[in-house]
């Protein structure tokens, strides 16, 4: 057979692109995400993201709940990092009411938020590894480590996942007796475990081959898509609200902001690993300098902010979480908009997915670390 006849055969072979539905029930869509993927062989030609399978209308609910009553609902937004949502919401209301909280409350909030960041990144990284096909072991290691933090939170506020701990003007409880000792132990326990996780992934040739150069997001695109959080920093933008617009008492702590270079899945993973270490550093400093005082508030009174509006954004584990609250002077918010980080982070997926293999779609999605409750609200 001559070479030219092979060419003619190639021309005559009829190939067809086809659509594959991933989700809403699919093991690697992190919940109920629905992706329509157009494939040519194994290569992705087009990808359409459908969301809304977990749209619970929380913004509508907010208009019918008092300010205190809404706190439990914030837990259910980004359920992997519920404390971060709690914090963002109460800060927004405090900003609306121009209220200052006590120093101890600020410190405890920082400690809790940073521990939550560690817990959240543990889940994020290990589910990412699970998506890459490392079946169950890294995921279960991540959950085993996270369990320590969850048990601490259980001790502090009485629930494992939906904490409802922050209050407008302070906290529900002070730390229980012996909590600072426990937190110190967690820091001691967590550091070698993070190293372990890193040696399980970072040096692993298969993991590197799967992630390096996959789904690279350039600096400009990341900013233009309003990608935030670790995903933005992985693209090389040194932007962290904890440093650039410090809230609470983040300006008192010394920490680095890890950034990536290429913005690929590897960088996104690496930034998260590094952020966990920095968070532990912040917790260590905060627990060392924990001031005395009463972080709790007298609750039960009805909160009625003056008519007005406030927009508060915080650095939640997944990115910038913004609460836009409009008050009409009554006990109920007039309008509440939750600008969730995962929503904007996910929008970039269809851009990143074009031209890569179907296995890489899962990889990119895992590295973006989305939570459907956060996206659909």
């Amino acid at each position: 057979m001559t070479w030219s006849s092979v060419e003619t055969i190639k021309e005559n072979i009829h190939t067809e692109e086809f659509w594959v539905n991933m989700g809403p029930q699919h093991p690697s869509t992190h919940g109920v995400l629905y992706l329509e993927v157009k494939l040519s062989g194994e290569t992705v030609v087009d990808l359409i993201t459908h969301i809304g399978y977990l749209h619970r209308g929380i913004e509508k609910i907010a208009e019918n709940r008092t300010y205190t009553q809404f706190i439990p609902f914030t837990d259910r937004l980004d359920y992997i990092a519920a404390m971060g949502n709690n914090l963002g919401y109460v800060l927004a209301v405090e900003k609306l009411m121009k209220m200052e909280v006590s120093d101890r409350a600020k410190y405890i909030r920082v400690i809790i938020a940073e521990l939550q960041r560690v817990a959240s990144h543990l889940v994020g990284i290990t589910t990412f590894a699970q998506d890459l096909g490392a079946f169950a072991t890294p995921l279960f290691y991540g959950f085993r480590e996270r369990e320590k933090i969850v048990e601490l939170f259980d001790d502090i506020c009485g629930n494992r996942l939906t904490y409802n701990y922050m209050r407008i003007g302070g906290l529900q409880f002070d730390l229980p007796k012996g909590a600072d000792e426990k937190i110190k132990n967690i820091i001691k326990y967590m550091r070698p475990k993070i190293d372990d996780l890193e040696s399980l992934f970072s040096s692993n040739a298969i993991f590197t081959a799967r992630t390096k150069g996959v789904g690279a997001l350039s600096k400009e695109k990341a900013v233009n898509y309003s990608v935030t959080g670790p995903n933005l920093r992985a693209s090389g933008v040194k932007w962290d609200l904890r440093r650039d617009e410090p809230y609470l008492c983040y300006d008192k702590f010394d920490f680095d902001i890890p950034t990536g270079v290429n913005g690929d899945s590897w960088d996104r993973y690496k930034v998260r690993i590094e952020e966990m270490r920095q968070s532990l550093r912040i917790v260590e400093q905060a627990i060392g300098g924990l001031p005395e005082g009463d972080p709790t508030i007298k609750v039960g009174r009805i909160i009625k902010p003056e008519a007005g509006e406030s927009y508060m954004r915080t650095e939640a584990p997944r990115g910038e979480l913004g609460f836009y609250i409009v008050s009409d002077g009554s006990a109920y918010p007039y309008r509440m908009k939750i600008r969730s980080p995962s929503f904007s982070n996910l929008a970039v997926l269809s851009e990143l997915a074009k031209g890569i293999k179907v296995a890489d779609v899962v990889c990119v999605l895992g590295s973006l670390d989305i939570v459907m409750g956060d996206i659909d609200r």
Binding site: Q69, T162, S199, A205, G300
Partner: protein
């Protein structure tokens, strides 16, 4: 050509590191709590089911007002001696979100969240309209029989 072999060897070494981590864990002690035979102690602040210390309640309706899911229903009447008396105090566990706001807002610590956490039922009616005034309401859940 040399680089080709270096890559292969480096890759193999990197995989060994991962294997070493799992190997370490293979012989470390399991962290599992074997649930039905071993049980974790619930923390002091644990938020279980809503419970009531009947004699302490002053019928101020704070808990009913603060509840984000409207799972509490309370009604009272006044007796001849100007004393408040319960008509009913119902708790709908189906709607409850175990947020603890009622516990926190109660001025006399009458309503609180107990330590019960093992609840599973075959029918929903057991979860609805639980009479908080009945002291035996959580009887079977307070002491579950699990083999």
């Amino acid at each position: 050509m040399i680089k080709y072999f270096i890559n292969i060897v480096a890759g193999a070494i990197s995989l060994m590191k991962g294997l070493f981590v799992t190997f370490k864990n293979l012989f470390s002690k399991a962290v599992t709590v074997q649930y039905p035979t071993q049980k974790l102690q619930m923390t002091e602040r644990y938020r279980g089911l809503v419970d009531l210390r009947i004699e302490k309640c002053i019928k101020c309706y704070m808990c009913v007002k603060i509840c984000p899911t409207a799972c509490l229903a309370l009604a009272h009447k006044e007796t001849a001696e100007k004393k408040k008396e319960f008509v009913y105090f119902k708790y709908n566990m189906e709607l409850c979100c175990f947020c603890g706001l009622c516990d926190q807002v109660c001025p006399t610590q009458a309503i609180y969240l107990n330590q019960i956490y093992e609840i599973a039922v075959y029918g929903r009616d057991k979860l609805r309209d639980i009479d908080l005034l009945n002291t035996e309401k959580y009887g079977e859940w307070a002491h579950p029989t699990v083999k």
